[in-house]
Symmetry: C2
Subunit: 505 residues, 2 copies
């Protein structure tokens, strides 16, 4: 045990981080490796670890150590110092954690682990009634949790949950960002769709041998900068990036008949997450200085590699020949222009993870409105499919044929993650604003992509974002990097500059 | 929390079992999935779980509950009742655990997790000096552990460790079994080798496509009775069967160029272990009544399926056509006689896991003698390779060309498992004696194999052995099933009856 309050505090929170990293591995295993009938025992394992971590964290010892650290001015006088950041962020987490009883933590963990299993089955059979009681239980538990957590005056229950994913996020702030975004996107999408010039996507409908595709997407991840001596790529129903720490980062993708190119973009996406995790500093492992800022900033990294790198013409100048080498004759006749157009469609659809860049945020806006109502109590779970389908008709002009392609498509609510979805859209906005800055600072950034050079961007992100852990808040990071608060302008400029000429506007 | 001392005791030990099942998953992951650089963090995760389990187990509360249960005659009056067994076995474990300080438990766990990583590297490069300091540290820690545990008068340090794998096992008892076994085996092997009629093994040297072989061995495991809705089969450097409980059992095998048929036998072997685990009763999960008796009994199950099923002529009457269907033309011209002879060679060699049935136990006897000396202090770790090679020359008449094929071939000592090896040979003896009984009781047992029917044997084992958990000791089980104490006769009869005619004696 080290000396001094700060050393002791770090020792304790590292212990808890270690236990949580074990839970992260169990979560990954559940999604990728676990035999189907292992689910019930797994839910008990996870609930035990959640309860133990929670109990260790809300101990009197941690409360005392935190108070002692806060009283030592040399630790906290420089608010950006390692010690000040670790104390500040531990305080933030502690004040949240101490409000939630361990029994509720355990019940939520066990319920959501089981519900994730049920969700897989319900989605497969497009059977919402099978999943409904689980979601009702989860919403009930989350409303209890929100009540324990409370929220500042003028806020709402949803805010209390969102805070756990995105510090300082409120429904009101999200709404202020989403209202103009929704209007601008509706206009742009309307204009493009109105032209009626829908092209067949050649790339997506190729018949790529799955074994070669697996190797290809792994090679792409490695090429853009994922370190496989510290990571893996597997398959799961819903692609994600998990694992337990910067030396063991586990991405997944999925291979479907419907879209042969999705695995590449899903891998580029998860690679962005993986490079953030791998870019955290080992010396800070298990402390806030060794953790990512927020989910929106995490998502900015994944969306940057997926969309701001992977969907540029320059990337495809390099990537298309790589694909032709890997897959041979099946790509004959596909030009760089074809590929660039194929991967930048605007086509309102049903599935969020397959949505194009212009319609993606509209999927998020729908989910945000619904989960806000679920938490506010004005949307009963039983009405979910109907309201879902209605919103898809209104906002995206698509008819939902079944629940698997409707309100059962995402795992998030099954996992208890209400308040999470908006971080995806915020991530898109951050990605645009940060990438704009990277382009201004890194010479020949895009030309590098066309030569298969990605290390400039990766290193810039490592240095400017990843290595700082939680030193800056999301707002502060944005201001510091770009000298502006987050706005929708860089994102809308990016979309309009790319999509208008491509779609003949 | 349930009422009554017994209910409370079960609740507590189930909690500990749950935590240990998490550690088991992490061990499996380390051998199969973990990226190379994850090892250091993994060793910390495992050490933490080991320390937590240990501390939870040696608590005053458990001591009190145990004492209360032992004072309630209705719980323990029938020594074979569920409650009596759970109390008896928890007492046995408790009395051992309480003697070892948590710091030593943690240090052993962390050291062995790291040493297993080093062993993989050292074996790959056949570099004993790289591994030596790790083994020295492990032997030192294990001697400390043995000293904490102590042993009855007339015993030795090795006994204290072996007890953890095989209750009531002592070096003296093992020696009494191994001395005549060694002599009988040396005679039999000598006679067969002396005839000089070594046949080329056609099966082993086939060039089987690895992807088909993977599917084939999995199908064989399923056919003999492994339930893959509650299990997996993966690959690892050293095949094993792990996982966390009867609904999540994880086997591994390995595919090498050198022997194309080894994966089948290694899979049959691990399937025997898996079926034991899957045959434990779910209602007893996390308690002694839901755990296997001992490692020797566990090994009796794996060796039974590998050797007493998989190496019979009847099995190959059924299996060879299955192989021909799976692999096609490459098996043309191989007859049942060829196959039966190919899989029953007698050929002294270097590698334990590839050893034939006649020489296998000699590999174990060598390891037993060496680890007894390591623990007794009369064999320094630095002398290990020399003594190893000498014993292989004396006992098996083979020259060890390098350490990868010598003293670095097995993971056990790296994992801290000194006292473990003899359970393999005892497992062979139990397998023979139990199988002899199964043949006497199950009509047409072997004929069933020739028709691909294995459920008779599996169900007999489920009912007679698996479902009882730790109800009987190994000795008591043997006596109860076969009405005789364990002896080498059934094993030697099995070998001589099979090998003498096959090798022209």
């Amino acid at each position: 045990m080290p000396n001094g309050s700060y050393g002791k505090l770090l020792h304790r929170i590292r212990e808890i981080g270690l236990l949580q990293s074990t839970a992260a591995l169990l979560h990954w295993d559940q999604q990728t490796m676990m035999p189907p009938r292992g689910i019930e025992h797994r839910s008990r394992q996870l609930a035990q670890l959640a309860r133990m971590s929670h109990e260790l964290f809300i101990s009197v010892e941690i409360a005392d150590l935190l108070a002692q650290c806060e009283a030592e001015s040399n630790l906290i006088s420089d608010p950006l110092s390692e010690s000040a950041v670790n104390v500040r962020e531990t305080r933030r987490e502690y004040d949240r954690a101490v409000k939630v009883p361990a029994s509720l933590v355990q019940e939520l963990s066990q319920t959501t682990a089981l519900a994730e299993g049920e969700w897989i089955g319900a989605r497969k059979e497009s059977d919402f009634p099978r999943f409904r009681p689980w979601l009702e239980k989860i919403v009930g538990l989350l409303r209890q949790k929100a009540e324990c957590l409370g929220h500042p005056k003028g806020g709402e229950a949803w805010d209390a949950l969102a805070e756990g994913f995105e510090p300082d996020c409120t429904a009101r702030k999200v709404e202020a960002m989403f209202s103009p975004l929704r209007a601008r996107l509706a206009d742009l999408v309307g204009e493009i769709v109105g032209r009626g010039a829908i092209r067949a996507q050649q790339l997506q409908s190729l018949d790529l041998p799955i074994e070669i595709n697996k190797k290809f997407v792994r090679a792409m991840a490695q090429r853009i900068g994922v370190d496989f001596s510290r990571g893996r790529l597997d398959e799961s129903a819903h692609p994600f990036c998990g694992g337990s720490h910067c030396h063991d980062v586990r991405m997944t993708t999925r291979f479907t008949e419907a879209d042969q190119i999705e695995p590449l973009f899903s891998t580029l996406h998860e690679s962005g997450h993986a490079m953030y995790e791998q870019g955290l500093k080992e010396e800070h492992l298990g402390t806030p200085m060794g953790e990512s800022i927020s989910l929106a900033i995490h998502e900015s990294q994944s969306r940057m590699w997926e969309n701001f790198v992977g969907r540029t013409r320059e990337f495809w100048i390099w990537c298309l020949p790589q694909m032709k080498k890997a897959f041979g004759a099946s790509l004959n006749g596909i030009t760089e222009d074809d590929a660039y157009a194929d991967i930048n469609p605007v086509r309102p659809g049903l599935i969020r993870v397959s949505a194009d860049e212009a319609t993606y945020n509209l999927h998020i806006i729908i989910r945000f409105e619904m989960e806000r109502s679920l938490m506010g109590g004005d949307l009963p779970v039983s009405d979910l499919p109907g309201v879902w389908n209605e919103k898809y008709r209104d906002i995206l002009s698509v008819d939902v044929p079944d629940e698997a392609q409707g309100c059962l498509q995402d795992i998030h609510w099954a996992g208890g993650a209400i308040g999470y979805f908006p971080t995806y859209a915020l991530g898109n906005l951050y990605a645009a604003q940060i990438f704009e800055q990277a382009e201004a600072e890194i010479p020949d950034l895009r030309r590098g992509f066309s030569q298969g050079r990605f290390s400039d961007l990766k290193e810039w992100l490592n240095e400017r974002i990843h290595s700082h852990g939680k030193r800056f808040s999301a707002d502060a990071l944005c201001q510091r990097l770009t000298e502006k608060p987050l706005s929708i302008e860089p994102f809308m400029n990016h979309l309009e500059n790319k999509l208008r000429p491509l779609h003949g506007l």
